[in-house]
């Protein structure tokens, strides 16, 4: 993940419509954000559209980007809002909670072998967390966002973010330790 300084530098250059800065930012962040959008929606097509729309939107609003605020948090916020919209509309058209799609990926036989018991359990435990606890934990664990960045993305205080993450970890630990026989001590 690029440093905070690089993000500040990019937003300053974006303000003056620097296409090279936009390209650098895209190269640095596209895979990370695609993973994030994929985890959010469980759908590759949707993830692609969401990340494309987010960068397009960023280019449209480039002159209003405030370099004193985190560009990384802004990108995550844009992807998150688009993903939430997607889930809302998917919910309306299918009448199914798209979260459940995550389980319906129909992985290939090869993947099934690799898809450990641990993966399945983790999936279940994380999905069963209260929504906001899960989101704070995921942003910290899988996106590597700082507490301040998560706070900006989710509209919380960093203190509350920490509480969510600690609760999530303790909860996971309790449930995973019930699997103890499966793990090396």
């Amino acid at each position: 993940m690029p440093s905070e300084d690089s993000f500040t530098h990019w937003s300053e250059r974006l303000q003056s419509s620097d296409q090279r800065a936009f390209s650098e930012l895209f190269q640095a962040m596209n895979t990370v954000l695609l993973r994030y959008a994929w985890r959010f929606t469980g759908d590759q097509e949707a993830a692609r559209d969401i990340v494309q729309d987010a960068f397009l939107k960023l280019w449209q609003i480039r002159e209003d980007v405030d370099p004193s605020r985190s560009l990384k948090a802004l990108l995550y916020t844009m992807v998150r809002n688009l993903a939430l919209n997607y889930k809302r509309s998917a919910q309306h058209t299918n009448g199914v909670l798209p979260e459940h799609d995550l389980h319906d990926h129909a992985p290939s036989a090869d993947q099934r072998v690799g898809a450990s018991l641990l993966h399945e359990r983790l999936h279940q435990y994380i999905e069963e967390m209260p929504a906001r606890r899960r989101e704070a934990f995921m942003l910290s664990r899988f996106e590597g966002l700082s507490h301040e960045e998560i706070a900006a993305v989710m509209g919380l205080t960093p203190r509350t973010v920490n509480t969510h993450i600690v609760l999530a970890l303790k909860d996971l630990r309790k449930r995973l330790s019930a699997l103890q026989p499966d793990r090396t001590p």
């Binding site: 895979t31 695609l34 990340v51 898809a115 993966h119 209260p130 960093p158 509350t160 609760l167 630990r173």
Partner: protein, 341 residues
């Protein structure tokens, strides 16, 4: 057993240091045990990624996106008016012949001046009301803004010179000083324009039903959608309207102007889905509120607390009316359906 999968994995972030601050075991050894256990859990969570598409898939997706983006940007810059070609002008005799170093110095001064003016005009000022508090902001034009908990208001340093424009994320009550210059409040999906008046704007993007709600106490206010200028409405004292996505709808009757303004005096009056009420309580009282069953998030809830009330008093009201239960959890509360047994 070997849990490692073969494909190229993204970088694993370290366990954030802040987590340790929340651990308060009695003895030092317990602390060490707890640390080890949580660190192990953090590491094990990596297996959540086991079924992720591999790096090559994401790289291909990224390449596709970039092709589209690049085409769009090129199109846009081609559409912009091409700059007029430079014309060669015959040099005219100069009245003052500047020595070369004078020219350099003047150019430098001018560049510095332009730079300073540019930087000053670009800088924006951001005000935030922390969770659990409200904030009163006096703007340079004499207008006053009261920010509700967790809300952010920002404006350019040049506010008031040519335009009075602020951007709001959240909820605020505005007392706008009269002036020829229109006062504009930008929210995520629209703009509210006034000349001099008192009104409330509520615009939380992640409410269950995201909307910009405008309620007018005094004077006249114009609310317009961000993208379609046809969708606009003028409101006068005692009126309110709601902007959902890009269309304007009347505010439901039960959400009166009086209710919309209640937060300023510490009252809590909200007729909204439980998910929205929970977020509001989180901001107003700086606590965590977890709704155990997701289908409850859309349940309508009406709370009409006339005077400042504790979060527990509000939760107990909700629990009683809706037949829910709530319990304290670290840092906040959990709401769930009451057991019927």
């Amino acid at each position: 057993m070997n849990w490692d999968s073969q494909h190229n994995k993204p970088h694993t972030p370290p366990l954030p240091e802040e987590v340790w601050d929340a651990l308060k075991p009695e003895r030092e050894e317990e602390r060490e045990e707890e640390r080890a256990a949580l660190a192990e859990t953090w590491a094990l969570a990596e297996h959540y990624r086991d079924l992720e598409p591999d790096e090559a898939t994401f790289q291909q997706m990224g390449a596709d996106i970039w092709a589209t983006l690049e085409a769009t940007i090129q199109e846009e810059s081609a559409a912009e008016v091409a700059p007029a070609p430079l014309r060669l002008v015959k040099s005219r005799p100069r009245i003052f012949q500047l020595r070369p170093w004078h020219q350099v110095a003047m150019a430098a001064c001018l560049a510095l001046l332009i730079g300073v003016v540019f930087i000053l005009s670009q800088q924006s000022i951001t005000h935030t009301a922390p969770f659990g508090e409200t904030a009163t902001i006096d703007l340079p034009d004499g207008s006053q803004v009261i920010l509700n908990s967790g809300s952010t208001l920002s404006h350019q340093r040049t506010f008031g010179e040519e335009i009075r424009r602020v951007t709001l994320e959240g909820e605020a009550f505005f007392s706008v000083a009269k002036s020829e210059i229109p006062f504009v409040v930008g929210t995520f999906n629209g703009t509210t324009t006034v000349v001099g008046t008192q009104f409330n704007v509520r615009a939380w993007k992640d409410d269950i039903e995201p909307a910009t709600d405008v309620s007018v106490l005094e004077g006249k206010v114009r609310l317009a959608a961000q993208q379609t200028a046809q969708h606009a409405i003028t409101l006068t004292a005692g009126e309110s309207a709601r902007l959902v996505a890009q269309s304007i709808t009347p505010t439901p009757l039960e959400e009166s102007v009086d209710n919309a303004l209640a937060w300023r005096t510490g009252s809590f009056k909200l007729v909204k889905p439980l998910g929205t009420v929970a977020r509001e309580l989180e901001r107003r009282y700086d606590v965590i509120l977890e709704v155990a069953e997701t289908d409850l998030l859309n349940e309508p809830v009406a709370i009409l607390k006339e005077s400042p009330a504790s979060v527990e008093a509000i939760l107990s009201d909700i629990a009683e009316i809706k037949n829910y239960e709530y319990r304290a959890i670290p840092g906040g509360y959990e709401i769930k359906r009451a057991d019927t047994e």
